[in-house]
Symmetry: C2
């Protein structure tokens, strides 16, 4: 007699990305002196400095808006990497690119792609030092950037302390504004550049690092809510965010001029694609740090505070509610 | 009246990979003190040392044999990288992986993939220090490894001098033997491991580097003929290769026991996938260098010499012919 049994085969779709990352983390051999599994960059202990390394992949179908030009794709690939270096307070030293391209790719596409990647690297004081091309079915771009930071200036994701100020650089919702502009067939660069050709906060990251007042840091590419949840997961604290304190981007106000307020904050909180920095800063050091960035024409805006309770609360006109975690998946990557 | 005109749109398929790489190279901004555009690794000038960085992508359809297990895929991804570090005489410091996986991927696949990548990193004295996962249509794996080497021990692709000995580590044709074994449904690990779970020559790379007798170096992953042509392209010399001197792998002899001799040499010369090193060595230092590797149980075999004339000649029983350049495309990558 045969006894029937069912083998449960879990697939990534059921498992969920978080569980997948936990699986990977539980398997990997760890080198204790290094830092950074689960952080924006891997950080390799080199004595007084960390070497920083970060990698990103872009796939045509899932990550590249159809309006994105090849120049913008190249720029975006490098910008994503630079933003990760910025979030750690680092200085980039070089970029390596892998271009997986279909046989039917036009020569002009390859040229523009390369020019975009090169221009972004040069804009941020570095160069593309190597890479390779491979034939593939779907456009697949992989960028790796490496750099360094003094250990004393390294801004990890972990370290947020009760009472710290939660702050963001620049404004929120500009990539979202660009996305909605494109959906409405508005192609003006001033509206779409933030989405398609973002400017990571490298100078600001270095300024913040030198202040040594930042207790935790990451970039905002996944959106504010998703980023806050990622930060909270690796820290032993919670956050209280004041909705009206969020620095909405003027372009968002322009795009949604006829809509109600809720949409604006929804985009600013959840859309992602804003290559700003999210940091926690020692309360008594916040004002000086803010002024330092202001001198370089970058706003640093307090949007809340670090709390003891391990949840994320949104304060809206005295009303408290749990912040939803709904960063847009198409912008999100899942680190290990 | 309209005058008709034809716009010639070149595509990568017409352009050819070499021309594509030249296009990329002509566009990229160069940082003079760095080394390595077109080399196995990018080499960043850090004073007394170079930081080495190398990156590789693997795609399911074009690079992953269907018999390759997920564990072997992970291993292979890291091994390709380690081999590039080895070819420069370097020591790896860390590996970053990006896994692009379909939603339908089984949890067990992810675990095995991670274990394979981890095992290869640990085998070569390093660890996986970070990475990310992304959802994609086709399995796409990107590995980046970084390391370092003293400038005085760096083995560049350029530097071959007239009269130098051309040599290879280990044996040739073992990956090819594995390929033909699989085609004949022979799954024995001793036959297929060289193809599916290669062992790059990291220790040997370091030993060669310390000898400081190597004048140019690259890995053999693309196959001997393709590699010789790549080496020749960046040097101002040619090569004369003695066919009967090629160290054929015993597994190749085993697989082709009933075939004629020509097939054996064809595989050894062109197949690729052998993660050995191809080097040129100062003639008067060759014997000492060979003995140094022999003490560590690795053969270093002289297969020819560096010539003045910029071509690659194959010597076979006194007959001279130009060596064909026909490395198997499925193993080849195209660097910039």
């Amino acid at each position: 007699m045969l006894i029937g049994f069912v083998i449960v085969v879990k697939r990534l779709a059921d498992l969920g990305e978080r569980a997948a990352i936990r699986q990977i983390n539980s398997i990997l051999t760890k080198e204790k002196k290094h830092h950074g599994i689960g952080d924006d960059c891997a950080a390799i202990d080199m004595g007084n400095t960390y070497w920083l390394v970060t990698t990103d992949m872009m796939f045509q179908r899932t990550h590249i808006p159809k309006q994105m030009s090849p120049y913008q794709m190249g720029w975006f690939l490098v910008a994503m990497n630079i933003s990760d270096i910025a979030a750690k307070g680092g200085t980039p030293l070089g970029v390596v690119c892998s271009f997986g391209l279909p046989k039917s790719t036009k020569e002009s596409f390859l040229k523009a792609l390369t020019k975009g990647a090169d221009a972004c690297a040069v804009k941020y004081g570095t160069t593309i030092v190597g890479g390779d091309t491979k034939e593939t079915v779907e456009i697949t771009l992989c960028g790796t950037t490496f750099g360094f930071v003094k250990k004393s200036e390294f801004m990890a994701r972990t370290g947020a302390q009760l009472g710290d100020i939660v702050a963001v650089t620049g404004t929120l919702g500009k990539a979202g504004a660009g996305y909605y502009a494109l959906n409405r067939k508005k192609q003006e660069k001033k509206l779409t550049n933030a989405l398609l050709r973002p400017l990571p906060r490298l100078t600001e990251g270095r300024l913040l690092a030198k202040q040594q007042s930042v207790t935790s840091s990451m970039d905002l590419s996944d959106g504010l809510s998703a980023s806050l949840y990622q930060l909270q997961e690796v820290n032993t604290v919670g956050f209280e965010i004041k909705k009206t304190a969020l620095p909405l981007d003027p372009r968002l106000l322009h795009i949604f001029s006829n809509k109600n307020e809720a949409d604006l904050y929804d985009v600013a909180l959840h859309f992602g694609g804003d290559y700003e920095l999210l940091v926690t800063i020692q309360k008594n050091r916040f004002e000086n740090t803010r002024k330092t960035l202001q001198k370089k024409d970058t706003a640093l805006t307090a949007i809340g505070r670090v709390t003891r309770k391990k949840d994320i609360v949104l304060l809206d006109k005295g009303k408290r509610s749990l912040l939803e975690n709904k960063g847009y998946e198409h912008f999100r990557k899942h680190r290990f």
